[in-house]
Each structure stands twice: as C-alpha cells, then as structure tokens.
Symmetry: C2
Subunit: 486 residues, 2 copies
C-alpha cells in the first residue's frame, strides 16, 4: 500500500506555487525502467531529452518536473506501460494536447508522462447515424475537418481546438461556445476504450457504438471530467451533429445585467432550435480590447454590456428571419439599446474577434488572474461588482466575459505585475463567495493543480468519500495523475 | 457478509418463469420490523394489505411476492428506512410508477417495496436557464404540464408518461420518441439527491443545479440506467427544453429498408435542427393494426415500409417549408413511393395513432413476445427477416416498429397463445444474434428480471467485474433490488 497523501495546507494564493509534497511511496524512474519502456515501445517511443513542452503547461504558469515522456502507439502498449508502472509503483500522468488551464496534464514531481500523441490512427464515421469512433489522440480540429467533408461537425468548439485532443476533451468534459445548443459531452458520449492503472493494465471497452444501450451501468460517463484520475482513454465513440448550412451572428448592446438575462430568455424562446451561442462581454473588457489590442466595438454606442448571439441552422432565409424578428422584439421591448446583425462573414468575424481576443487582451495589462466559475444568473454579475469593490485600486482592471447562456463567467482581474496583496484579497474569498452563492468553482476548466486547495469547498464529506472509493476501484495504487483533483 | 447469489442457469425462455433463488442471507420481514417502519413513517406510511399493484407489473407478466409497501414522504424518511434495512439485512426494491417492461420494480421473493409515490412535493423551475429541480416521485406528465405553463417541456416522452415517475425515468435512462432531437437523459441531468443502502442511509447531493460544474467526478450520470442497484433517487435536477410552437408530422411510404436509411440521412441533413421523431413501421404491423384494431393507413398505396417524421420548431411557416422541401427531395430522388404531410392536428393524430397503437395491436393476436433491441442500421431489419424465417408458421406474425432514428427496433412476435416450441427457437438465439451483429439486447427498457439471463452476452469479464465493484461501493450489503441486473 502507498502512503496516503499528506493533507495540503490551505494556501493564500491560487497559484502553482502551492505544490503537494512528493509521495515517497512512489518509485523513482531508474535506468532499468527506461529499458523496460524501450522494450515495450521501441527506442523512438521513449523521449528523455527536450521534454520541456511536456512538463510545463502552455501558459508557463505551471512548471513541473519529470525525466521521461512515453509515446505508446496502441491501446496494448498503454496497457503494457500501466501494468508495469502499477507493479513498480511508478506514478504516471496521461497527457493529450497539454492545453489545459489548471495544470492537470503535466507531471508535478517526477511522474512519467504518457503522451497520447501517437494514438491517432483509427477513425471511422457512420454518416447515417452520425456516430464517430476514433483514437483518443486525434486533435479536435482534425476531427472537425474530417467530419466537415461528410456534412457533420463536432458538437463542441473551443479556443484550443488546433491542439487539444479528443481524449483530453473527454477527460476534462470540455465545454466551449456551443454548449447552449448541443449540450455537454454527456449528450454525445457513447463508448470508450480505457486502460486501467492496475497490475494487469486492464483494457475495458465500455458502453457501445450504438445510440441506445441500457444493458449495464453507464460507466463511460464516469470518465467525463475525471481528469485522468481513473484510467487512460485510448478510443472514443460519440455522436457528431449535422454541419449547419447557415450561421448568423448579431451583437447587442444592453443597459443592465437584468436586461441581459431577459434577452437570454427571449433568445431561448424565439431562436429556440437555432441558437448556438450566447456570449457576454462587459464594458470593461470592451475598453481593454480597445486600449490593449486596438479592437473597436461593432456597435456605434458604448453600452454597459454586449451580447454576441449566434444561430446555426439548415436554412439561411429562415435563420435570418428568426434573428431579425428576435432583434425587433428586443428593440420593441426596450431590452437592448442597440443591435447589429452581421451582414457578411467579415462582419461576423469582427464580432467574434472581440469575444475571442478577450483572453489575449487581458494579458497585455501585465499580469492576469483568470477565473472560470459558474453561477446562477442572479449572482452572475454580482461577483464582478463584489470583486471590483474588494480589489479597489490594487487591480488594474476587473473585467468579465463568458458563456452567459451556460451561467459560466470568465472573470479576469489584471495588475501591472503579480501582486501578493491582491492575491490575499482574492483567495480564498472569491471561491468561497462562489460556493456560498450556489455556484461552481470550476465551470469547464476542471480542478487540476490550480483549484485543488479549494476543491472540497461546499462538498459534503459523503461525496468526497464516495469519490475516493471510486478512484480506488479504478486506480488501486493511486499511481495515475497524483497531486491533483481527487 | 451476505452469501453471493447463486449463478443463474441459462434459461430456455426469456420469461419471468426463470427466477433466481432467494438469497437466504436476507432477513425476512418480522412484526418488529413493521413496527420500526411505522415508527419512521407513521401508520399510513406502511401498507400491508391490497398491495397486489405493487408486487405485480402492469403487464401481468411478472408476479412477485412481498408483504409490505412503504411510503416515505421525504429523503430523511428514505434514509431512516435504508439504514434500518441495511443494518438488518432486509432486501428492498425501490418503486416509481411501476411502468417498466422488464420486471425491475417489483419484489421477486419478499423484498420490501419502497414506493416513491409520496415524494412529490418540491418543484422549482428557473425559466431563464431552463433548469428544473423536483422530487423523484413526480409523474412525468405532471411535470410536462407544469412546464408547459412556463413555455418549456420535458426533453423526453414515452407511452407511460401518465404514470411513470421522473426518478424511475432517471433510474432506467428512459428513451422514447424524442431522443433523436434532444438526446438521452445524459444530455439533461445535472444533479441528484440519492440515499445509499448503507448502514447510515447516507444522503448524497451529487452534481449541482447549474449547467456547468467540473469540480468532481460526474457521479449523477452513474445513476442513469442503474435500475435501482446503487441507491434510491429522491430528487432530480435537470434541464428542460423550450416548448415548440409548431409541430409538423408526415407519413412516408418506402419501398425498401435501404431507402428508409437514405430517407433518415436526408432528414437529418434537411430537417436538421427541427427533426424530433423518425419512427418506423413495417407492412406487417400496418396489416396487424388494420385487422386487429381496424386502423387504416393514411397513405393511399400500401408500401413495404412506413416512416413517421415529426418536426418541432419555433416558427410554423419555416417548419412547413422545411418539411415540404424535404418531402419534395424524397420524391425527386425516388426515395419514397408516397408521402403525406399532416394538414391539421387531426391528420397528425391519425398518423401517430398508428404508431402508438402498435403495442396494443399485437396483443390482440393472443400472445406476444415483445423485444427492445438496438442494432447498427445495416442489421436493423435483417433481424426481422431472420426471425421470420426461423419462426416460420409457429409465429402468427413477426412485425417491427420502432425508433429507427435511434437504431432501436421493437420486434414483436405473436402467436395465438404461449408456445414453448416457438420460445425455444427464439431464445437465446435472438439475443445472441443481436450481440453478434453489434447490437444491444436492451435499447431502452433495461435488464431487470427479464433479460438478466442474457445480460452478460458480449460483455467482457473486466467490465462485469468493474460493475460488481461499483455496486459494492454503493450497496455494501447488496440489499437493493436483488435478483436483477447486476
């Protein structure tokens, strides 16, 4: 038995500076282990040099340690590695595109990195039922491109689509901008091939490749959002959605947050089956876009809040008519101050550039504290106001953008440089406030290392105990992705 | 520790006649237990007489045994009962509307029936986010009626809607006729309150009441389709969908099954965001409807296959235009022999009456062997042909209807009366054929008692072991819904 991880002290800061101590129950990787890995994977499957891209996250916020990256090419090779590591108590971190924001896919101390980069051969698609089966290492954008030729698309989209992998998307239950239309990945997942970190490296084919199967516990769904704690996903079966023939975008200027919620309610009713995004930007992020990136609002008047609405449908005339009627109703009911319907794809691109550039714009202030939380709508924007008042002049900006249609806010607090005094004001206050107001401290990014100190906030002991018992069934030696989430 | 259940012999027949032996590790309910139950629930919470409706299923196919039905009124009362039963090794069967088709919600030997009928008080709905939170004992139709007043509806619909309860719908991952549009219940579930059958009667609040929450394992989804094996669901949080303002129906006559699949593909592309049903009837069920119920086809020509397509949308003109264009394209591509678009709600009702009366029509032949399986489309109708050839004159009819859009077929084989020779031809052949052809032996009805003898077909030992380990975490004494599913 391994030693139980030491209880992590409650940190002042929500930063990677707080790292759990190494679990001395884990073995260190020795020369004999490297030879064994080469035996399983061949010499080109074991990388010892130039691995910095695999032990550091892309934001540079998380700098981990490690000495080896493994590149299995098949489920069987993953099984061989996990069986070996389990028997030898070697900790392992599975890694997809390494595009996460919470430090979940890099080693903390000296875990072996199990890269999925070479598990990307098998792809099949049933274009009548819309069912995709593919290896876990496929990049999301590649899948989307393959499906586009067949009249379909992936049911979710995110900024990292050019690098993130479908296996990682499943492991993090990736959200993104289309969730209001197509639902979370739970709506689409049908089956998984997973390898367990047990002494046999057990290979499980869970779920099925058909749309309806009520013959067993629906275990594939337990892997959605499991952050590499339970097993390594090597293959995914899921539904895709018909590619829309018409995509319309509109930008609305709104006077109050209350009216933003009324616009959302009307959009869900009027745009019903065609709404595909409902994104939110406040005046402070618009100002930040202007001053830091010289990006100007598409609306002529400056308004306290902006909303970007998108529809996706099969008939352009119908979608334009619905969107126009929706805008007319917003105006006639005095819900909006201004509204523009994109007349061309260039117009639409300008609108989306504002929303998509927001994460970049904030970084130009110097230092940025990013957040990803969910809140009931009545508290959604109150958080911004509370944090503005609390941070005062220590913050350069307190800005908010996000997926309003999903209750997901990306509140960003910037400063000229990292500021401990500001951090002490923010944490744990912000997360405690979110939980006290019925929210979730992680909407779509997960827990990883970043939010581990707060992951028990508002969680009852019974649930925490259940989660640990579940982890123990799948990963009896606790070797998979330690120092994170569970 | 309880004794492990004896291995069930492989039966010749797929009927309730095959019953697992009583597990003698379970205690029998004594007078002292009844007094304890009355102590927890009051006298009116414990029913000992006239309980036949609770120990027999509605089809009369499953006749169980039992002496007491309990009616808790709250999560706390469920907790008190499960803690008591767990400590005293008394087996319990949770029961919702008792509308299932596989004998999953009735006691087999002498299990205590835990009825959810009185847990139906709390109902709340956020009509901006479309999030419903309600007690598990609410009847599906009641919820639908409440939501209709708020402009929303439940995202699934089934024949039993007037009796089935939302807790049971979750426990069976109910499917129905709108799955092609709104997805399975996995697409909608956000949170559950469940009581575990452990010695504390642990109450768990799993998931949350917001749309995005990536802070823990997504355990609520493990209860979807768990058939009362893991815990008792007392409260459900899920999304509802905007109520469509326009519903259009059309009936199509098709020459070959291959063309039915081409029509499906076209419908998914052309009707894309508005398609809400794609139902299938073959000529034999149409003939059965005519001869047994005097229900006549709405198409003038008799065709080998009929398809009922439904759209649900927010704009009647748009939906009519899409449906007309779809029918035109079907005709111009020679995919259909005939097609009728319902011009009124009476027309639509006539079309749906054919589909919805199919389960009744077959019973009029005398005896009916009902099936609910999923298959890849290339094998969907082959099963019907194979069973026709195999059953020959022993069968009165071999008819097929079902949710073609989901790959779900309800193959029904009728006879004048129960026929053992026919049963021996059918079972286990039919289920083995389904599994050998990439299908699932239960699409939406579940395993229960009916399909327990076949539940391991095609399942690998690793998955079966995992399922048992999971069951053991939630139900350490194995008292919940024994002799079924797991």
């Amino acid at each position: 038995m391994l030693k139980i991880l030491p209880k992590i002290r409650r940190p002042v800061r929500c930063l990677s500076a707080v790292v759990a101590a190494r679990n001395e129950g884990f073995a260190k990787v020795m020369q004999s282990d490297l030879l064994a890995f080469e035996n399983f994977l061949g010499k080109d499957g074991v990388q010892k040099d130039d691995i910095s891209n695999h032990i550091t996250d892309w934001t540079g916020q998380f700098k981990g340690h490690g000495s080896v990256v493994l590149y299995p090419k098949s489920t069987e090779e993953v099984s061989a590695i996990l069986a070996y590591c389990s028997r030898n108590k070697i900790a392992v971190v599975p890694q997809g595109g390494n595009t996460g924001l919470v430090g979940g896919s890099i080693p903390v101390h000296d875990e072996v990195v199990l890269s999925m980069n070479k598990i990307n051969k098998q792809f099949s698609f049933d274009d009548t039922m819309g069912i995709l089966q593919c290896d876990a290492g496929f990049i999301l954008e590649e899948l989307d491109n393959k499906l586009a030729k067949l009249g379909y698309m992936m049911p979710f989209d995110l900024g990292a689509k050019g690098s993130c992998q479908i296996g990682g998307n499943v492991a993090t239950c990736a959200g993104g901008i289309r969730l209001i239309r197509y639902g979370s990945l739970h709506a689409h997942l049908l089956g998984l091939t997973v390898v367990l970190p047990d002494e046999q490296g057990s290979v499980l084919h869970l779920g099925s490749s058909i749309r309806k199967d009520n013959t067993s516990l629906h275990t594939p769904h337990l892997f959605l959002g499991s952050e590499g704690q339970l097993g390594v996903i090597t293959s995914v079966t899921m539904t895709a959605v018909p590619k829309p023939r018409s995509v319309q975008s509109a930008m609305l200027g709104v006077e109050s947050f209350k009216k933003c919620c009324e616009v959302l309610k009307l959009a869900k009713s009027s745009l019903s089956e065609v709404i595909s995004s409902f994104e939110f930007l406040d005046a402070d992020i618009m100002e930040c876009l202007k001053s830091n990136l010289d990006l100007h609002p598409v609306l002529s008047k400056s308004t306290p809040f902006s909303i970007l609405v998108e529809t996706s449908g099969s008939n352009e005339d119908h979608d334009m008519e619905k969107m126009s009627a929706f805008l007319d109703e917003c105006l006639s009911k005095n819900l909006i101050l201004d509204g523009v319907l994109a007349g061309s794809s260039a117009d639409a691109a300008n609108m989306w550039k504002l929303r998509e550039s927001a994460p970049l714009a904030v970084t130009r202030d110097g230092y940025v504290y990013k957040h990803d939380v969910s809140l009931p709508l009545e508290n959604y924007y109150e958080l911004t106001n509370v944090m503005k008042a609390r941070c005062g002049d220590l913050a350069k900006r307190v800005v908010t953008y996000g997926h309003l249609g999903d209750g997901n806010t990306h509140l960003n607090i910037t400063a000229g440089k990292r500021c401990e005094e500001l951090e002490e004001l923010m944490y744990p206050f912000l997360y405690e406030w979110v939980v006290a107001h019925g929210g979730s401290i992680s909407a779509e990014h997960g827990i990883g290392q970043l939010k581990l100190p707060y992951s028990n906030l508002g969680k009852e002991s019974e649930e925490r105990l259940l989660t640990k018992k579940l982890k123990n069934i799948f990963d009896p030696n606790g070797i998979l992705n330690p120092y994170k989430m569970i």
